[in-house]
């Protein structure tokens, strides 16, 4: 593959992956500004680490994992400083069904959120998610089932 770093490849990769990665980062971060920071950091990491990818799927998997790591870092930093992420994020408490669902996804343990999002938003199969996250398919399946059940519980409780 063409090495990342030329103007052409930078434009291609930013255009191809930004939307997906920004929404993925929002499974960990309530603030879209924080999500933008996480995705920019992931792209910058691609520039400095200069990994060699087998194909575009490999490239995508690397970006997904790096974005999740960066989003996790930002979230942990905020938590360590006791910044209430949710307050910063969606200032008016999530009154819309969409806001409520996003808040529930963010409240999921880290290991479930990405799997849920890649399945429900991006439409990936369990096997495909396993390849993207470097996890056995059975683990992805278990996380998907458990994450989904926790979401159901949270949303039900909130409604009541």
């Amino acid at each position: 593959m063409v090495p990342f770093g030329t103007d052409e490849t930078i434009r291609r990769i930013v255009a191809a992956y930004s939307d997906m990665l920004l929404r993925l980062a929002c499974t960990r971060l309530g603030s879209t500004a924080d999500a933008e920071d996480a995705v920019q950091e992931a792209f910058l990491r691609l520039l400095t680490a200069r990994p060699v990818f087998r194909d575009q799927e490999h490239e995508k998997a690397w970006l997904i994992r790096t974005t999740l790591q960066r989003a996790g870092d930002i979230r942990r930093r905020a938590e360590q400083r006791n910044i209430p992420l949710e307050d910063v994020a969606e200032p008016a408490a999530p009154e819309s069904p969409g806001g409520e669902l996003r808040a529930a996804v963010r409240a999921l343990p880290e290991m479930y959120g990405a799997v849920i999002h890649l399945h429900y938003y991006e439409g990936y199969t369990i096997k495909e998610i396993g390849k993207l996250l470097g996890l056995p398919a059975a683990t992805v399946g278990t996380r998907l089932a458990r994450g989904r059940e926790r979401l159901r519980q949270m949303l039900r409780e909130d409604v009541v």
């Binding site: 920019q40 520039l47 400095t48 060699v52 690397w62 470097g134 399946g141 278990t142």
Partner: protein
């Protein structure tokens, strides 16, 4: 929740309109800066290597068993435009290892490592210590490795810790970044992870192997926590033990880290996929459709009540509700709603549209009649989980 609701919720998010433009500009600017730094560094490096070659020739004059010459970890850091890291590799905290394992077609040499804070000028993380490790790979048949003929990610270089699951402590959980570069036929890995010094009171390894995420096809963990490659793992492999200073261990931080991964389980037994999946086979016009559904873990399969069992339950429950109402512990509204729910469940089971299970705590769980192969379980944390897609 369904996929449409989920997509709608995340489509509602709006990001900066100029995000892509701004990000592409930032990356292009950074790429140009890096290229400039790389060019300047290449000039300096050429002179430095010339000196090393001269020294090597002098050594050969007195010994015919001179070792293969590698770049030093500091030089590898310089190649990556990391002057602070290069300096650290020459400082008192650096650990030189220089151990070689031959495996498959390769000679694998772990050159050294250093831990510290703020050593990476490109990716400063002010809050965390990092460990940087350098490994050299060369082909035993003398064929030169290049950036074009060697894939960085075909192999994994990762720390592992005895007593901790390889699934819990590895480059993925340690938030690693790995860079590679070929130089004079040798391929160098520069691995950046969160600091592994917190584990220093245990045996800490650096593993290099052909493959991806650590699993029990690649590693085995002995009862005493010792980690080794699985006997039948045939890929390129090397396992080095790191001479870390036990005084730098932080058992509490290490335990907290392992706990935070939520992945400290491990078994050397390779499971039969059929044990982890409910498999449904269905004849179709084209052949056979096979559906795999993950089995929920941790609980007994939920058994649904028969119509008669449910009728008996409803009768007893009506009496309980009436007693609660008489005692004033529930309101009339709650009583009416509970009775309505009971009647709906009974009617649904009678007409075949609902399934109901009586739970251990006396509650009632109802759902639409599950299709074949779908089952429900009460998990260890009391949640009812199903394996449907």
């Amino acid at each position: 929740m369904n996929r449409e609701d989920y997509r709608k919720a995340f489509d509602e998010l709006s990001f900066s309109a100029d995000f892509q433009e701004r990000t592409a500009d930032l990356l292009q600017q950074r790429a140009r800066e890096l290229e400039k730094e790389r060019t300047e560094m290449t000039f300096n490096k050429t002179k430095r290597i010339a000196v090393l070659i001269a020294a090597c020739i002098a050594l050969l004059a007195v010994s015919v068993s001179a070792a293969y010459m590698w770049l030093t970890p500091a030089q590898v850091a310089e190649e990556h435009n990391q002057p602070l890291l290069a300096e650290a590799f020459q400082g008192p905290d650096a650990i030189a290892i220089n151990e070689t394992v031959e495996s498959g077609d390769f000679s694998i040499t772990l050159l050294g490592l250093v831990s510290g804070k703020n050593l990476d000028v490109l990716n400063q993380d002010l809050e965390k210590d990092h460990t940087y490790s350098v490994l050299a790979l060369r082909r035993l048949d003398g064929t030169a490795l290049t950036n074009e003929n060697h894939s960085l990610t075909q192999y994994t270089m990762t720390p592992l810790v005895a007593g901790c699951s390889p699934a819990a402590v590895n480059i993925w959980t340690l938030e690693a970044g790995c860079s590679g570069m070929a130089k004079d036929g040798v391929y160098y890995y520069l691995l950046d992870t969160r600091s592994i010094e917190m584990f220093a009171d245990r045996t800490v390894y650096m593993a290099f192997y052909e493959g991806f995420v650590p699993n029990n096809s690649i590693f085995t963990v002995a009862e005493d926590g010792t980690i080794a490659f699985a006997e039948d793992f045939a890929g390129v492999q090397a396992l080095f033990t790191l001479p870390l200073d036990p005084a730098k261990a932080d058992r509490a931080a290490a335990d907290a880290f392992v706990e935070s991964t939520g992945m400290n389980g491990w078994t050397n037994e390779r499971s039969d996929p059929e044990e982890e999946w409910d498999i449904e086979r269905r004849e179709t016009e084209d052949g056979e459709e096979i559906t795999l559904r993950p089995k929920p873990e941790g609980g007994e399969a939920l058994e649904f009540a028969t119509e008669e069992e449910l009728a008996a339950y409803a009768e007893a429950e009506r009496a309980n509700l009436q007693a609660d109402l008489d005692r004033g512990t529930i309101s009339r509204e709650t009583y009416d709603k509970s009775i309505r729910d009971l009647e709906e469940a009974l009617q649904g089971v009678r007409d075949g549209t609902l399934a109901a299970a009586i739970l251990e705590d006396g509650g009632l769980f109802t759902t639409t009649v599950p299709t074949e192969g779908v089952r429900f379980e009460v998990t260890q944390d009391g949640v009812i989980a199903s394996n449907d897609g």
